[in-house]
Assembly symmetry: C2
């Protein structure tokens, strides 16, 4: 924190979920230092907190006071985004996974050999997702190294936190010859190069920020070195005011804006040699891993036929199930697979909408959590047609109810679904914030001292939106549920990553009726 005061102080109603079953609501003033680190969260309900809050607001270099209709929330962590599929969002959900890939998706992804095309897409995708509240994204890019580096650069340019993965895929029958790594060795080498290139993008960003001392998009966490001693000016009381109780283990831990992630597409697209090589690469470089796991009946049968084991067991065998491994979908994990994921500290990106289109089943969030598996949420752009993660939270709640009750009325009720599968909006929001952050070991997902200020402000009183608050009817818990279920991107007024406000998208058009003479 600077001597005169915080770099940024944000005042407003803070809603967040420090655990899967707990919503906290605080009349808060959040102090953020010039590096984007949250240094204090003052609760104005108490006399001391109110006094500290006034002082914080009076001394901050920049103040943002949200009006009563807006709510401050942690930014959203989307654990599964196929960046190159952005142009097909909302289309092509009529085919099963294995045909969808060859007929729609691989042809589109192959276009990213053209880096200019890639850059045009990234310059729309990244600010669009930011405006929807996605402050951290896990991106599958394409097989192309250049396009992938360009995606990392776009994240820096627009100020979005991201793990960016060059997709590795080389299987002679599981991929088309016009869209694959030529050999396993070439795939591993290209992934290693991509890790270096993305690391260089981040290093360059940090160097620039440290040299300039300013606040470039994405802020500067190069300065986080100043915080290695984890001093918290406002101490424990401030931490408690944030409502979260537990101190964050990752306080002052590495919080890169962009970082690489090892990305074997999925077992059917990769040779054994590629899978093995990528496992070794991840271990050697300490890079996290993302891949698809046990998504559909077809995918699981394929794994059994090829490996004589479950898809999860095969991934483990290849060294691809490690801490911070994000397994997308994972609908068909057996109990043994769940135990395997938990033992390896791998987690799941639950993508509720794409479950309907490609997975032949619904992922059991409660079952996974009970088994000790980390879970977060993913939009699965474009296998899911809902890009904003608040909407994905509602989907997660809705599909959990379908899993619990079942769908086929011709069956007797007890045979229809899976008892005790339901989650509520609090759990869903936890998955979309603190849950996803925990899985990635990133100090985001909660607004509390020691974490980075990745946050959004969501309006609950925009007349054009669907959210309405009624005196004598709504309380803060209901307001939270309405925000999660009903807010759209247009209801999100502010987005910060690392303490820096994301730029509004360049062109804005009002929803004005067209009337002519």
């Amino acid at each position: 924190m600077s001597v005169g005061g915080a770099a940024l102080a944000v005042a407003g109603t803070l809603m967040q979920t420090p655990s899967p079953d707990r919503l906290t609501v605080t009349d808060a003033v959040v102090e953020v230092d010039q590096t984007g680190l949250i240094t204090a969260v003052h609760d104005r309900a108490g006399t001391e907190g109110a006094k500290a809050a006034r002082r914080a607001l009076a001394t901050a270099a920049q103040r943002v006071e949200l009006d009563g209709g807006a709510v401050l929330m942690p930014g959203l962590v989307d654990l599964h985004v196929h960046a190159p599929q952005w142009p097909q969002l909302g289309t092509g959900l009529d085919l099963p996974l294995e045909r969808w890939l060859f007929e729609y998706t691989f042809p589109l992804e192959a276009r990213y050999a053209d880096t200019a095309f890639a850059e045009a897409v990234w310059d729309d995708l990244v600010p669009s997702l930011l405006a929807m509240g996605t402050t951290t994204a896990l991106y599958f890019s394409s097989v192309h190294g250049e396009a992938t580096t360009a995606l990392a650069r776009a994240c820096v340019r627009h100020g979005q936190r991201a793990l960016v993965g060059r997709v590795a895929m080389d299987h002679p029958s599981g991929t088309p010859e016009w869209y694959r790594d030529p050999t396993a060795a070439a795939g591993v080498a290209a992934s290693a190069e991509s890790i270096e290139a993305i690391t260089a993008v981040e290093s360059s960003r940090v160097a620039k920020a440290e040299a300039g001392g300013g606040a470039p998009p994405g802020g500067s966490n190069g300065a986080r070195k100043k915080h290695t001693d984890c001093e918290q000016t406002d101490g424990g009381a401030a931490a408690k005011a944030g409502g979260s109780g537990d101190a964050v283990n990752t306080a002052c831990a590495a919080a890169p804006l962009v970082a690489p992630i090892v990305t074997p597409r999925f077992t059917p697209a990769c040779s054994d040699a590629l899978l093995e090589g990528l496992g070794e690469l991840a271990e050697a470089t300490g890079t996290p891993i993302q891949t698809h796991c046990a998504e559909s009946d077809w995918h699981c049968e394929y794994a059994r036929d090829r490996f004589g084991a479950s898809d999860a067991a095969a991934l483990e065998r290849f060294g691809l199930m490690r801490p911070r491994t994000v397994l997308a979908h994972s609908d068909h994990l057996s109990s043994a697979d769940m135990a395997r994921a938990a033992a390896n500290q791998a987690g799941v990106a639950h993508c509720p909408m794409s479950n309907s289109y490609f997975a032949n089943a619904v992922f059991g969030v409660r079952r996974a959590m009970a088994a000790g598996v980390g879970v977060g949420l993913g939009s699965d752009i474009a296998g899911g047609a809902r890009p904003g993660l608040l909407g994905v939270c509602q989907d997660a709640v809705t599909v959990s109810r379908m899993l619990e009750d079942g769908v086929d009325a011709s069956l007797e009720a007890p045979a229809r679904g899976v008892a005790e599968s339901r989650i509520d909006t609090v759990t869903a929001f936890w998955l979309a914030t603190a849950g996803g952050a925990a899985l990635l070991d990133l100090p985001v997902g909660l607004i509390e001292p020691g974490r980075r200020f990745d946050a959004i402000a969501v309006h609950s009183d925009r007349p054009e939106g669907a959210i309405r608050l009624w005196e004598g009817i709504d309380d803060e818990a209901r307001r939270f549920e309405k925000l999660v279920r009903l807010a759209t991107a247009d209801d999100i007024s502010n987005v910060w990553v690392d303490g820096t406000a994301a730029k509004p998208r360049p062109t804005a058009r009002q929803r004005t009726p067209i009337v002519q003479a």
Copy 2:
């Protein structure tokens, strides 16, 4: 059509679904007369059509030329809205139906004894739904006659087409004593009075329109008397240009802006005497009927216990299954029940999202259509937390896929779901427009000569929205799918009912970032 030209000519890309499996896309100019009747649809693809279109635009009293990013579509017909539940939209979905009613919903609905409160809600609800593209709504009101009449007046004031039903409910154990009709006879009498009051609201509207000759909100269809001979100035060619082929049977049929509908809540809330009395009332007055049918396991067991028959069979027995009867949900209809509904020309309001929360199953749209049952879509506000019907279309597609594939991965695939249940966005949009209109026998749901001009314009290029079109990737069919799956209320720029533009909501706030010094 007036001598000098149409009252209104609207030019733009017209997308609509004349049948469940057919999307038509026309570069169209639509002519609308001063009564709100569509008199011609010119297809500019042909020389003759282009010439007629130019003439129409040159001579119309009012011209609206949509820019290339906007698409003209039929207005949306929401077959199931609980108007008094608007304040609880997005909340309270944690309890099963029978508890949800007593703990959340009945207490809220009881408040509508206060007509001033009711009017405040209606003045928010009606323009909000209009802005979301709902040009026709089937409203369950509350038990209160005054609040119900006020809802009909609000629809006239804001220009929304609606069938408005006073809710009848008197069962001593199925309703709380503080929210019910005191006796069956009183319930039937109150429903009869409500029919008269709503009919009077409509008559007064028509009389005013005829006297004024102007275009009050909702337009004037009093003047439809001038069209009883069904003359179509532009003849058959124009009708074909609309893309729909079949002439509409309901051309120049009654198309009230507001009309009453007999509304027994559902069998568990009504005594036999009330159900029987309401059946007689519907028959005597020729008023359509709406109720809930076979929604949940509990509802079905209740009906079997009480009537020794299915819920649908009981409704039929009480004279409550007739042409234009709208049965909400109906998830648990047997094949015999489906045949019963088809034989009586009753239809179903499919409410996909609330299926997840209250129905213990998913309604089989394809199965019902194959059995000859009319189907449309409902939001089920507030049992569903998605107020805009375009979003409900995406939900309908999504849950149909869950029904087809099932949800429980621990079952073998063939035992998991119901084969051939899926619908696509074309079918879903048909349900939301022409399907719902057919069920109600209202001349809306398609833009073609002889129907009323109930329409919306939806933007496919608003930067703040989620829809993106990519050259060389998207075609018109993909654009349609993106519009249906991704558009929000903010993407809807224009809404017309009966040829009259709905007023934009009074206060508009921009989604501007809050930044202070």
